[in-house]
Amino acid sequence: MKAALDIASVLAISAGAFFFLAGTVALLRFPDTLSRLHALTKADNLGLGLVVVGLLPRAGGVSAGLKLLCIWLLALLAGATVSQLIARTVQTRDVRS
């Protein structure tokens, strides 16, 4: 049982690391601000979610697990809000200039 949980953790964390890699590659390669912002928000938050899922079996108790989930949800909320606000800033600057 423990070995199965460990393997699940390793798989989830590896998937999360892959999404971080994808997000960073996109950051380095995409041509303009808005597409970079999109890649950053989506890929990195998904990567964080997978890392959290991978760490859940190792959390010490229900409250620690709930805290981990809370962290991910907060990061999602922040990412969603901030990406919208930054995109709006980019747009108003473009319209005005």
Partner: protein, 86 residues
């Protein structure tokens, strides 16, 4: 398992470093504002991977970071878009 977690933490932080390098170079202010968001997701992932295996209280630090990274990003955008102030 611990070695794997630390290696994953190092990898994620390397990704964050690469991303920061690109973002901080970015020509517009909006590009730079993304740095806080990058750290908010990547930095928290790295922190959780590096710390929670050995020190359980790292989760509290990550929780505080998540709350305040959200807040810092929002304050960023509010300040940079200063034209909306009455």
């Amino acid at each position: 398992m611990l070695d794997f977690l630390l290696a994953a933490a190092a990898f994620v932080l390397a990704m964050v470093a690469l991303g920061l390098f690109r973002i901080l170079r970015g020509p517009t202010e909006a590009d730079r504002m993304m740095a806080v968001q990058l750290l908010g997701s990547g930095g928290i992932a790295g922190l959780l991977l590096a710390g929670s295996a050995r020190i359980p209280a790292t989760v509290d630090v990550a929780l505080t970071l998540a709350l305040l990274a959200a807040f810092a990003s929002i304050a960023f955008v509010m300040s940079a878009a200063g034209e909306t102030e009455r």
